[in-house]
Subunit: 567 residues, 2 copies
Amino acid sequence: MARKIVVIGGVACGPKSASRARRMDPDADITIIERGEILSYAGCGLPYFISGDVPDIKELMCTPLGVVRDTAFFKNVKDINVLNRTLAEKIDRKKKEVHTINVQSGEKDVVPYDSLVLATGGMPFTPPIEGVDLNRVFKLTYVEDAQAIDTALKKGDVKNAVIIGGGLIGVEVTEALVKRGLKVTIVEMMDRILPGLFDDEMSAFLTGHLVQKGVTIMTDTKVSRIVGDSQGGVEAVETDKGKVDADMVLVAVGVRPNVKLGSDAGLDVGPRGGLVVNERMETSDPDIYAGGDCVEQVRLVGEQKVFVPMGSTANKHGRVIGTNITGGNDTFKGVLGTGIVKVFDFNAGTTGLSEAAAKEAGFDVMTTLSPAPDKAHFYPDALPIGIKLVADKKSRKLLGAQIIGPGVVDKRLDVVITAITFGATVDDLANLDLAYAPPFSPAMDNIITAANVLRNKLDGLARGYSPQEVKEKLDKKEDFIILDARMPEEIQEIGRIDAANVINIPLGAVRKRADEIPRDKEIVTMCKISLRGYEALKILEGMGYSNLAFLDGGMLLWPYERIKTLP
Amino acid sequence: MARKIVVIGGVACGPKSASRARRMDPDADITIIERGEILSYAGCGLPYFISGDVPDIKELMCTPLGVVRDTAFFKNVKDINVLNRTLAEKIDRKKKEVHTINVQSGEKDVVPYDSLVLATGGMPFTPPIEGVDLNRVFKLTYVEDAQAIDTALKKGDVKNAVIIGGGLIGVEVTEALVKRGLKVTIVEMMDRILPGLFDDEMSAFLTGHLVQKGVTIMTDTKVSRIVGDSQGGVEAVETDKGKVDADMVLVAVGVRPNVKLGSDAGLDVGPRGGLVVNERMETSDPDIYAGGDCVEQVRLVGEQKVFVPMGSTANKHGRVIGTNITGGNDTFKGVLGTGIVKVFDFNAGTTGLSEAAAKEAGFDVMTTLSPAPDKAHFYPDALPIGIKLVADKKSRKLLGAQIIGPGVVDKRLDVVITAITFGATVDDLANLDLAYAPPFSPAMDNIITAANVLRNKLDGLARGYSPQEVKEKLDKKEDFIILDARMPEEIQEIGRIDAANVINIPLGAVRKRADEIPRDKEIVTMCKISLRGYEALKILEGMGYSNLAFLDGGMLLWPYERIKTLP
């Protein structure tokens, strides 16, 4: 008899599991249960519908060829039954049945299974704040959410938006709303935007860009309530740092795994709140598989359990499940916790462990900040990017990377992702035979240069201070010298560190003018990207100076105040 | 006493070795011997000077900050002595001396060394053809070559250019010359352009794009002579396939390692004509190191010796040499043979073994062709790319990749490069946690989809035919059916395979209209990218059809004739 496969959830992992199962077993009886009307929409595309980049929301619900993925499509093309507008209410694991209710007609039914797939996704978290039920307080999870926001914006009376939560979705929607002419304020409880993804100096770099684009960023700020007007709409958001005018509010404080159906049925739920699955994507019941945003998984570096909802991962889970549920054997080992966002003219990506996360996980870490143009510097549209690498001092293994800038970020991130997955050391990274021609990269790709700077630090060839460390020394009024090895015109153009203890000697003059540099103080060298800073350090070292360090990332990655006068 | 380091060659590996050595040993006495005036110019940028993308050739000779890398720069900034306009004539290994001659003054000198670095680069090969010495017959290796071409073009009487050699430089310069208004013909001896880098179907794909841009491509064509006019200029190029008008000729038939100095001194030269070095970049004389375009090296996959001159590699060599020559220990394991080129609206990259090279090396190979948009299909500027993966059937390890198209090629290539370097299997590639957001990639990145298609083939889930294989079957008039699973409007738009045995049934109708498909013949399924082709195959398989295969890469990667009528 044909095996009965039932899939609950019709967005990413669900349809992928079902389609793969069909291709593996032409005889299987496959059913997808989905509470909405349409299956397999691209949730990640919703911000681009709001921005207008995707003019018709149907594009998010179609195949690349414009065919809507409705029940007829699944039946005709894939011979998969879809029960849409249908809610799975209960799983009876003994009888191997799913109890359903049609959300339109209220009709109840029971669907038997041999194998069950839970692809119930994530649920946006609603913080317990007064006013979250007011009109024009939105979330952004479903197609209907995006349509509701679009409709509100089209009325033309929305001028000020407050986004509660500075995570990926909050930041993506910020650009969309600014494009639609709104004044946007992001309110974030933590000390920086994208707090789980970026260390503070990298986040500060991104914040700088958002502020430049007219966005207001309030960090370390708690929302106490959303204030309504007399018509039940929104008027303002009240925080512990004051009131912010708002005609609309987007609540984007994160997503939680939607596990109720599974946990009610007694399936194991893990420390991160997701269903527990093994490498085969089996839950604690071997006849029930789960994947996508409702499961938690292993982070391949550091090996903790993490909850990282991603459409890309959900699709991979679906393929593994579709193979295993039809008698095959495939595994999914885990994720790195990769995230990437385009916001205005900046791209910002992260993978693996941040410096903070690595320290918390007990690693003795060494980091570097390395800015450089993303193509041969003479090539017309070369743009800068800044790379932060995080490595384990002892094993020299890469633990993570954060890359931000107007240039090409995703390529370097994907290289690091691949390298970390295979357990690469920083040294391995430095000699990769990456594709080089002037339109694509510098001769020494940015990621290779970053690796080499980190190798120098790991080898003890030079000490580097992070921007925060130098800022701290300045704030503490330590008695040290900052040697700025740039030419005066650069300082006038992009500014210098705002401190009295800066000495400016262009690199080419350092040997001659060394008598201007005191021998009894610590010297922190720097330049635009700190390559000349590093060279200056090595020159001074050669002249017998001993207390030397360079500023990681140079002026390009200095996230604090700067002034444009000569020291 | 300070160690004496002498470096011969001042372009890429040489200055890098010297700079690294200086940073590692502040006391060393370091000298660079260079026959030209200027050091460290970006040879790879010359085509972009000819095209006008780089308006001032000085940009190729400057640091990113506009400082010319002349002798004063090296002395002041790096405390490195440069003997420019100086030719190294002989190495006396016993006395450890280099005999030099100043090419301007004719003055001879002897420079003693403790350690010597040979970074003598490559030399353009000059084929023994009548007429190669005529005016306006150019090469493109040195700054002066690019300036000479530019000067000739500025005179305005050059209309027709013939490029002899369809390798990377030939193809790069083609775009530059077309941008300058010339009619360009590439004459290539082999059966395709970029023959060492791309298999024939991928090369054909690129040829199609060049032809579309008005370039004439003559393959399998031998140049017999360059015909001069009465003024000693060029008039035409004579080939075994006829005469081609030419007002200028670029000879770009490849580069040979420049090893004479080393081989005259008795250093080992390998089968590829390059100096033999070990992982530490030491030649057969432990006091002499060599790197850059004058050495041959190990290809990390397949493990043959190869000669792959690349500025990126030369820089990496330089760092390793600079470390080792000052008492450190670093190694360079080898290259993959990566190459990439931007030509008009196409990017084309390759790494590792081509299908042809892998077969020649004795591998039992499985390949796939996978076309897809490079970003989420709904994202505004998504553009297609086509990926060819080459893997070893037995170990399932990746051996190589070729990627071509208007979309983002270099990112996927760099991922494959990193994966191959760490010995990845196709399965490893498929679950990488690559960076996903709609502006950067599809949810399943192109490289992941390509890996999954190849896994299906390796697992025996479906048989794929390459375009050449299907073309061969057609040419042999085999009795089989091509099932085109696209919608009629697609066929009218992008065309179909030009054959009588094509049946068109859109995927959604395949189940219903299966009676139109004969059961006793072999069926080859396809669509735009062969995803629907693959689904159609699985549907027919489920209905009991047995002799099934799909066309790798679908219509998008079909490099042969097509017609736009319905079958």
